[in-house]
């Protein structure tokens, strides 16, 4: 095997962030190389350099011994590099075939786009690689798994022999993941391709890769042969220490029921049923965690409970009062606070200051209003300063524009505001997405504090460890239905995994 790709002292700096720090790495011809690391470790940035989207700030890149000077996707494609991005790069209104040939269209008489030929070429590719998909279907109408196939076919059409897959399984069902891995094995074996797979799921690394590189905070921590390591070793390399968080001190037991959901049906943005007949209840002084693979209805469920999404059927009760069909404001008044999944689009006003973001929801309180309409700025600022200190928000003070803060600090602003309402019910979605490990501990401690103080907490997280760590009970969701309910300390992650993928005992019933 020879060096197919060689990174030499590559560094990449974005304003304020050193995303890649002096990385040297060789990837061999015909291997499956896994690149693992937490969110924000710099994996995608490194691969974007290889694909020519980012030009490195310093260092050199060699592909098959040739030094790369022109960084552009076009040049990368010409060199036989293909990339399947985490967020698919597809034009929704184009057909499968049109997406595959985009940029290198077959032409009729030298000018006109030859759609028939495009579909024929697609069919040939489909046959050659066994990736079944309808060439004339519009991409917006096909499933996520099929869309990923289109992405792979696209790179193959362009003649790629180096394939980069950025978190390919994040949105896939287990069956689809298995199929994907079969395809990867086949193209490596039969077509002698080199595959680089970015992931943070360690069992996938073990299942598919020959070698594995671990990244942490922009640095390459180590490169190992997959057969020489195990998941535990990789995990400790990823986080920089053995994965042992301090034990959280859970005190008190569950009290009365505070959230009750009865036979709920909710549609997603396309109008398709996302939540199908979910019933659950959360008691005061407990955390109910939802474990599910992304896109199985957990987002829609929480949005429906908090009033952000229309309920098609069923009922929601918050603190003993009917919350079905009420506005978010009315539901908040029943005693509910909400840390939303996507803080940038839902959780903050990124153009406003920290002060203004912390005040939201309390702006009508008497202490902040003179004569009922004049905003008492000094009182507001004092209040903001207090929360700023209490939640250890780090930035340039309470006048900082929230949009300019880091993900972790922005999340602290959201959590500080929502927790400051001291409501009996908390709905929390993805509390630590894009947050560094230090801050993660902070959020976990705060959440358990609220639990111990008697709040009923409904938690959803893509991070299974987080769900296990915080929850008293766990429910698994699969395709909008509850597939199982467990005491958190009486089940293992592996078992939960089965239920999350619809293969557990509960799903059979």
């Amino acid at each position: 095997m020879t060096d197919e790709i060689r990174f030499e002292h590559i560094s990449m700096e974005f304003p304020g962030v050193l995303a890649n720090d002096d990385i040297s790495l060789s990837i061999k011809n015909g291997e499956v190389f896994a690149l693992v690391g937490e969110n924000g470790a710099g994996k995608s940035t490194l691969m974007n350099i290889l694909y020519g989207i980012n030009t490195p700030t310093a260092g050199n890149l060699y592909v098959r011994g040739e030094k790369i000077t022109d960084f552009s996707p076009k040049a990368a494609i010409d060199r036989g590099i293909g990339m399947v991005h985490q967020h698919f790069m597809l034009v929704p209104s184009f057909t499968v075939a049109q997406n595959i040939v985009l940029g290198r269209e077959p032409k009729n008489a030298g000018v006109m786009f030859d759609n028939r030929k495009a579909e024929k070429l697609t069919r040939e590719l489909v046959k050659e690689y066994g990736l079944e998909v309808d060439p004339s279907a519009e991409v917006r109408d096909i499933s996520v798994g099929l869309q990923q196939r289109v992405e792979i076919l696209k790179t193959l059409y362009r003649g790629a022999d180096i394939l980069i897959l950025d978190e390919p399984t994040a949105v896939l069902t287990p069956q689809e993941t298995d199929e994907l891995f079969d395809v990867i094995r086949r193209i490596v074996r039969e077509k002698e391709m080199t595959v680089i797979i970015i992931t943070h799921k360690l069992y996938e690394v073990m299942a598919i890769s020959d070698r594995v590189g671990v990244m942490r905070q922009g640095k390459l921590i180590g490169v190992e042969n997959t057969k020489d390591v195990d998941e535990k070793k990789l995990a400790s390399m990823m986080v920089g220490r053995p994965v042992l968080f301090d034990q959280l001190d859970k005190t008190g037991g569950p009290g009365e029921v505070a959230i009750e959901v009865d036979d709920l049906y909710v549609a997603d943005n396309r109008g398709l049923p996302a939540v199908r007949g979910v019933s659950l209840s959360v008691k005061k002084g407990e955390v109910l965690g939802i474990a599910a693979i992304e896109g199985n209805g957990q987002s829609e469920l929480l949005e429906a409970i908090t009033g952000m999404r229309k309920i098609n059927r069923g009922h929601v009760t918050v603190c003993g009062q009917d919350a079905t069909g009420k506005t978010p404001g009315e539901i908040r008044a029943l005693g509910l606070s909400h840390v939303p999944e996507d803080r940038l689009s839902t959780g903050v006003d990124k153009f406003a200051s920290v002060t203004d973001n912390l005040l939201v929801g309390k702006q009508k309180e008497k202490r902040f209003n003179l004569f009922g309409f004049h905003q008492r700025r000094s009182t507001v600022e004092r209040y903001a300063e207090e929360l700023y200190q209490k939640f250890d928000i780090r930035g340039a003070g309470i006048h900082t524009e929230v949009g300019s803060m880091s993900g972790g600090n922005m999340q602290k602003v959201v959590v500080a505001r929502e927790f400051s309402f001291d409501t009996p019910v908390l709905v929390i979605s993805q509390p630590t997405r894009g947050v560094d490990i230090g801050a993660m501990e902070f959020f976990h401690t705060r959440i358990i504090e609220q639990r111990n103080a008697g709040a009923a907490i409904l938690l959803s997280s893509a991070d299974l460890d987080e769900v296990f760590r915080l929850s008293d009970r766990i429910i698994t969701l699969y395709e909008g239905k509850i597939t199982g309910e467990f005491e958190a300390d009486k089940i293992t992650k592996e078992e939960i995994g089965l239920y999350m993928t619809g293969t557990g005992e509960g799903a059979k019933a």
């Binding site: 700096e13 304003p15 006003d349 939201v360 702006q363 004049h374």
Partner: protein, 371 residues
Amino acid sequence: MKAFFLRLKQKFDFGYLVALLISLGVALLIGTVILTITGFDTGKALGALIGGSFSSKQYFGNMLEYAMVLCLCGLACDVGSRAGIFNVGGEGQLILGALFAAQIGVWLKDASPWIAIPCAALGAILVGGFYAFIPGVLKVKLKVNEVITTIMLNSVAVFICGYFSKGPWKNPSPRVVSDTSPLNRSFMFGKLIQSSNLSTAIIVSAVLTFLVWYILQKTTKGYEMRLVGDNPRFARFAGLKADRIVIIAMVISGMMCGLVGMFRVYGAAGKYQSSISNEYYFEGLMVAMIAQYQPIPTVIISLIFAILRWGAIFMEDTVGVPIQIYWIIQTAVIFCMAGEKGIRAAIHKARETRAAKREIEKRREGGAVRE
């Protein structure tokens, strides 16, 4: 002391001030070039353009009245955009307000001014508000783009006014083609400067300006409007009645425009005529854009453009330069400000990339020694 300067820095955007001054300078330069190319006496023309508003009491008064109109229109735009809705339909709201105010004055011609004037003002406000309510509801409930609907409604308003002022509400005198009957003289606002357009309406306007500034900047309602305008989804999430706030902001914006129409009739023209507003609202909109929808800059920029506008009129009278040079300069300011923003962003990015490179090289050297 340091804290004081810090606060001052937070309150004033010096970058913006510099950009504005540079843009004004460049725009005047562009104007000068155009004047030279088209063969006018540049020095004389520029002198007239800048100094014309101060050449006589009458010009000065007219300038102030025009600044008042621009300022109120600009503020009306500010109010809408603060809540995230662009009122481009102010022109229609303005002329409808003027028409109804004028006709109410005609109907109540025998009443006391104490009844007629408030009634006219109320009529203008209601009509303007209603005319803004339509696109507001369409935007909030059906998500119909308010820019197109308001522009279309402007054209519709022009024809409605044309119909009434030529038809049922026309001055019965056969010599008049398309005006309403003149108002009872006792209804007119008192003139502050004789034979100019400047009337006591400017005092009402000043109070109104202060109120808008106060509400937008200092009250809880203004704060809520800003949240809705910045991120409506977040506002809804946080429990605000976002839809209602947007509609109310739009209606207030329309009411202000209607009132401007009434001021034009009762302060200057004395009747409704088709020249009651010569796209004044669009100039107010330009002012608001240059002011980045902030109230205090809106006031200042209104004054600057009013000076240029009446300067341009003076220039046309004395030097013969077409008054349209004023629009050219005004839009040049906007293009310059937009361009300046883009260029500044590009320079900023380039500077950061360079700094990053230096930083990494420095570290590399340090690292090499270690190795």
